[in-house]
Every structure is written in structure tokens, then in C-alpha cells.
Symmetry: C2
Subunit: 391 residues, 2 copies
């Protein structure tokens, strides 16, 4: 009689927002980047993917993935690579310990939920693949470290490798053709510099114009400025950023963060045809941050933009009033402020035109902070009978 | 008795729109550029500065300049450099021919009129300084060639040196510290390739956020991608552009024109703090041009943007219907179409969202073409009594 038992494990995984940007692959199949990158992991209290990985002979015959109750295609090379690598590690474990149940051969059922809109430019694929890899690794009881798992998550979505850690994370580009040294490492845990805050200005929940994958390869192929960025600008920024994080030097952190965002979007604009992620609302966010810094007489806020128009504004807790409070003063009608107890401040010193554009063009704000890496949870999205839990 | 005679001469001078962009000075005082550039001179039937230079012992005691009936400050180093250089050439002439009237010592009265909005991003300073230098050279009866005068006009406004020629013009950056070899030359007269047309989409007549002069020096000082543009990208584009113009190869001309515009704006975005000239309306113009080219199955239109949001779209006369006609079909309510006899065409194949943004965000269009250099005119803006002609 075949074992019909349902094996399962669950995790949550965080979003990360890069401060030294990943843009460009040297190997598209393995997601090997043209340059190293650094990110800040955001708190899962505000943004997270929750994933349960289950396997059972009663499932199948195919592997399946349900995201926010919608079946997803798992036949793509990226998801397949993650499944294959994780099964391979489980098989080795089973080979060396014959008493272990033979999970590697069973169909997988992955059930996943985001607490934020998918594909809205909020790095959902990073949290999603990190959670998928971490959940299956938990299910398979793999002894692999987060860095070892980062090699697998990277093949699902490049930036996912950074979401296997909390705090401040570097993705070392590596040099090997097989990607074995293209891995994420923790630069510092969240507890090293716990006062970093992030305010996300959500411009639009609409799907992005250009997918990141096709966009970045077009940049590598056509931008005449890209090589300078990858080989000269980013290495300089990596060194400055690692030092800034080590020393909790917000001003240096902020300077590199803003220069990196601009450098990345500059190479997008230099692509043929040009790729635009920043729009007039994004530009207004930049003006507002500049204005806040000018008023403060020093750099207390740093903007960064991924492959979309949403602004992420980093600041330190002690400047909450001068950054988030001032923006709340101008944008209090937006959804999202109620999540945290922040007093609205006078905004008369901030560029009024920029604030007007933000008021018109934002849909909501998200207040969050630096946070932890994936957290194992007993909360399961798969019921005892193996069916996805109904919400 | 002092000679009270009023000496005068008049000229018109054209606007030029660069297709290989000037951005960055290696010497701010002499307006010596960090890279060479190429422009197309636009027809004075549509865009021109008309300038009369007069001098008389009855004027003064100071030099004066009236632009569109408003007195202008002539004490700035740029205008003073032009006056000084032109007077110096006249003095040499007077020294060698003692019978000539002593004009170099007389106060200058310059009266100038643009037939387009000043400082709206329409390269008015280029036409303005070209007309000023050409008019004074005419007044002084200088035997100087346009290339010799370009050395002087460059000191007024860098791009003005290119407006001393018609057709297709290169500004060779030169190597000398004194700027003696930083000069404009004619690559080809308008008659070599007379079928080039330009459609200007005027986004806004408002003054620009950042003046070109401060903007470009900030880019030189802070953009980490700028050096690659100046030393690698532009030299490659210069060679391709000179060949494209020689061979009247529109597709090559268009590719370089669009890549140049994007490369220049990319280095603006890479500036600290970032400089934005393109807005959502500019981006819509880029999408519309891409869409027109995609429909044609080849490149029949090329956009370029100077230090402002206005799009200049180059195309060949034979594609008037597919480019200007299609845009007229979508944007027929705008002012400016009536200037030329162009039939509105079906625009259902062009990105509808982009056309919607253009319809909302443009104030007018200007239809023009490649044109001639400065033209001497007997139409004077200074009356026989020495007073500016009242309009």
C-alpha cells in the first residue's frame, strides 16, 4: 500500500529593496548577474509572502503552485530549476539515510499568499521564490544554509536570493560559469542597524509595462553606458555601501542609494528602445526627498526605485517626523498611514508642486522598516486533507 | 563736429537642433565642449531670430540690447566676449584701412526679435547669439568666414556656433586651451539633403527648471557615466552621423539621433541631484514615434530632446503622411498644423495611450524643415532716427 501521508512545511519570506541595484545578467539561464548588489530586507509585518510546501503520493501527478488562490504555471524553466535542485538535495539526503521518507519523488503542492499586490513593482517575485525555496527546504528538512539555498532561489528570480536573509544582504556576483559562487551573504543582521525605516509611495498597482527580465537583457545588449556602470560604477558603490552599513552611516548609505537608483534608471533610458520606469510621480517623489534634505541641511532621506514607478524612501527612526511626518502632513488622505502611529507635520517647506503631483498620483503608502529573514511558521495554507485552505 | 551718423546692418539667423548632443564644457569661460556635436539647421521661414546691429556716436554711452522689445543685460561675460572679439576684428580692419569709419569705438545698439517663445527650450539662445554675431560682423563689414565667426558666437552660447551655417553642421570640439580650434563647420548644405523635415511638439512655453549651463556642469562634475559618453559614445556617434548625412541614410541618421538623445538624458538622470528634462509627455512622444516606426516596419521617424520636454521629430518628406499626417490625425485640435498643407491620416495603429497623453500635454506643433544659414536682410529693426522700430 502506497503511503498517502501528506508532508508539509510553511514559511514566510520578506521583500527586499536593493540599494545597489541588480540589472543585467551575464547568464540568463542561471540568473548570473553582471554586477554584485546590496539590499535591505523589509519587515514581514508589513510585506511578506506566506508559503506552504506539501508533498504526497495522493497529489498530482504534476507539481502545482497556487498563488493568492490562482493556479500558476510551474512548467517554466525557473520554477523547474528550483524544484530540480531542491529534489536533488533531498535525494542525496535520502540516499545517505535510507530510513527517511522518499519525498523527492512525490508531487509537490505549493500554496502561497502575498499580503501585497503581485507584480506591482514591489519585488513580489523575490519574496515569492525565497518563500518557495525556503518552504521546500523545510519540507525536505535540508541542512542547507541560507547561502546555499540562495544559489537555488537565484535561479527562480535573481533578487530572490537576497530574501533568504534579514537585515543587510549582499549578492556576490561570483565568477564561475556554473554560478556556484553567485550567492547571497548577510552583511549585517537587522539588529546591527535596527533603526532604518522605509516609506513606500505606491504609484500604481497596474502591471508594469516591461518585464524586468526582458528589460535588463535589452540594456545589456544595447546601452553604451551599461558596461561602465557594471564594471566601474557598481564596484565603487559596493565598497561604499558595505562600509556605510558597517558603520551605520546613514548619509553615505543615502548618497549611494540615490546615485545607484539614478545610475540604474539612466542605463534603462540609454537602452534601445529606451525603458522608462520613472514617471512624473516618481520625479515628484525625488523632488520631495531633495526638498526634505535641503530643509534638514543634511541627508536624512534617500529614495530608490526598482523596475517600476513606486518610490521607496529610507530614513532613520529619529527622523520619522521630518521625513514620514512631513509627507503625511501633505498626503494624509492616502491609505496606509493608519498602520503606524506617526504624527502629521507641517510641510510648508517642501516643494509644493512636487507634493501636489504626489497627492494626485499615489494610490497608497506603506510604512515599514528593516526586518528579519524567512520565518518558519506552523500556520499552514494546506489543510490536513491536502486541500488548500479556503480563505 | 562728431559724426552722428547711424550705421546699421541686419540679419536673420536660424535655430539648430542637435542630433549629436553638446552637453558638458571643458572650459566654462570659453564655452569649450567636452565633445563634438552635430546639428540640423531649421528653416527660418518657421523659426528665426531677426537682429539689427547699429552703432552711432549718438547712442550710448553704453552698448544696449533689446530682445522682443525688452531691454537685456549686456554686462554678462558672454555678451561682452562677443562684443570684444568683434570690435577687435573691426579695429584691425580700421588700423589697416585708415579711411574706414571708426565703428569699433562707437556704442552698439542691438535690436532683436524672435518669431518663437524665448527660453521655452527652443534653442533661442543659439539663434540669438548667431544673429548678434552675424549682424555685428555685417555692420563692421568683417571679411570673416562663418567658421571664423563661429569661434566668437561659441563664446556667447556654445550651440550658437552651429547656427552660423545652414544644412548639416558639426561643431568640432578642438584641442587647444584657447579654443582657437573649437569651431563649427558645414558638413553638408541644406541642398545636399533638402528633404529632411522636422515636427516640433511643444510641450510647454514655461521657463525651464534648470538652466542648461548650470545643468551641464553639474553633470560633468557628478555623473559617473558622463566620461564614457564624452570619450567613447559620442566619438562613435559622430563618425556614424557624418557618414549618415553624407549618404543621406535616414535610418542611420535616425538611430544615432535617438540614441544620442537618450544617452544625453541618461547622463542628466545620472547627475547628483538628477536633472530631468523629459516628462510624461516627452515619453509619450517617444512611444508614439516607436509606434509609427513599428507600423512602417522600418525607421521613418526620429525623436530628439534638448534641455526641455519638447520633442523634435525628424522625418523625410516622402514619409510626411505616415509621420506628420498620422500625428495630425490624432492631434488635429492643436495649433500649428495650419502652417503647412498636410492631410490628417488614420492613427489607429499608433499607441492610443501615448496619443492621449500628447493631446493633453502639448500646447502646439511647429512644422519645419532643414534650412539655410543666416540671411542678410534690408529689413531693419532700427529706424533712420536710431530708435527701435515700433511694432
Amino acid at each position: 500500500m502506497v503511503d498517502q501521508k501528506i508532508y508539509q512545511a510553511s514559511t514566510t519570506a520578506p521583500v527586499n529593496i536593493a540599494v545597489v541595484k541588480y540589472w543585467g545578467k551575464r547568464d540568463a539561464k542561471l540568473n548570473l548577474p553582471t554586477n554584485s548588489s546590496v539590499s535591505v530586507t523589509l519587515s514581514q509585518a508589513d510585506l511578506r509572502t506566506h508559503t506552504t510546501a506539501a508533498c504526497s503520493a495522493s497529489f498530482g501527478p504534476e507539481d502545482s503552485l497556487l498563488l493568492n488562490s490562482s493556479p500558476q504555471d510551474v512548467s517554466g524553466a525557473r520554477t523547474q530549476a528550483c524544484f530540480r535542485e531542491l529534489r536533488s538535495l533531498r535525494s542525496k539526503l535520502e540516499d545517505s539515510s535510507p530510513s527517511l521518507p522518499k519525498l523527492a519523488a512525490l508531487p509537490l503542492r505549493i500554496v502561497s499568499e502575498n499580503n501585497f499586490p503581485t507584480a506591482a513593482g514591489l519585488a513580489s517575485s523575490a519574496a515569492g521564490f525565497a518563500a518557495l525555496v525556503r518552504a521546500i527546504a523545510n519540507l525536505y528538512e535540508l541542512p542547507a544554509s541560507p547561502t546555499e539555498l540562495s544559489r537555488i532561489a537565484r535561479q527562480g528570480s535573481g533578487s530572490a536570493c537576497r530574501s533568504l536573509f534579514g537585515g543587510y544582504v549582499a549578492w556576490q556576483m561570483g565568477e564561475q560559469d556554473d554560478g556556484s559562487d553567485s550567492l547571497a551573504v548577510e552583511l549585517a543582521p537587522a539588529s546591527h542597524w535596527p533603526t532604518l525605516r522605509a516609506l513606500i509611495l505606491v504609484v500604481s498597482d497596474k502591471q508594469k509595462d516591461t518585464s524586468s527580465t526582458s528589460g535588463m537583457q535589452l540594456t545589456v545588449a544595447t546601452s553604451k553606458l551599461f558596461k561602465t556602470r557594471a564594471t566601474e560604477v557598481v564596484p565603487e558603490h559596493m565598497a561604499l555601501m558595505e562600509k556605510a552599513i558597517k558603520e551605520k552611516d546613514f548619509e553615505s548609505f543615502a548618497k549611494v542609494t540615490m546615485a545607484e537608483s539614478n545610475s540604474f534608471h539612466a542605463t534603462c533610458l540609454d537602452t534601445v528602445p529606451p525603458i522608462f520606469y520613472l514617471n512624473d510621480v516618481s520625479r515628484a517623489a525625488i523632488r520631495a526627498v531633495d526638498s526634505i534634505n535641503n530643509k534638514a541641511g543634511k541627508i536624512i532621506a534617500a529614495y530608490t526605485f526598482d523596475a517600476g514607478p513606486n518610490a521607496v524612501i529610507y530614513y532613520e527612526e529619529e527622523n520619522t517626523a521630518a521625513v514620514a511626518g512631513v509627507l503625511k502632513g501633505a498626503l494624509s488622505s492616502l491609505d496606509g498611514w493608519q498602520a503606524k502611529d506617526i504624527a502629521a507635520q507641517d510641510h510648508s517647506d517642501v516643494d509644493a508642486r512636487a507634493l501636489g503631483v504626489l497627492k494626485e498620483g499615489l494610490s497608497r503608502v506603506i510604512l515599514t522598516s528593516v526586518g528579519e529573514g524567512p520565518i518558519r511558521t506552523e500556520q499552514s495554507l494546506v489543510a490536513a486533507n491536502g486541500e488548500p485552505v479556503k480563505k
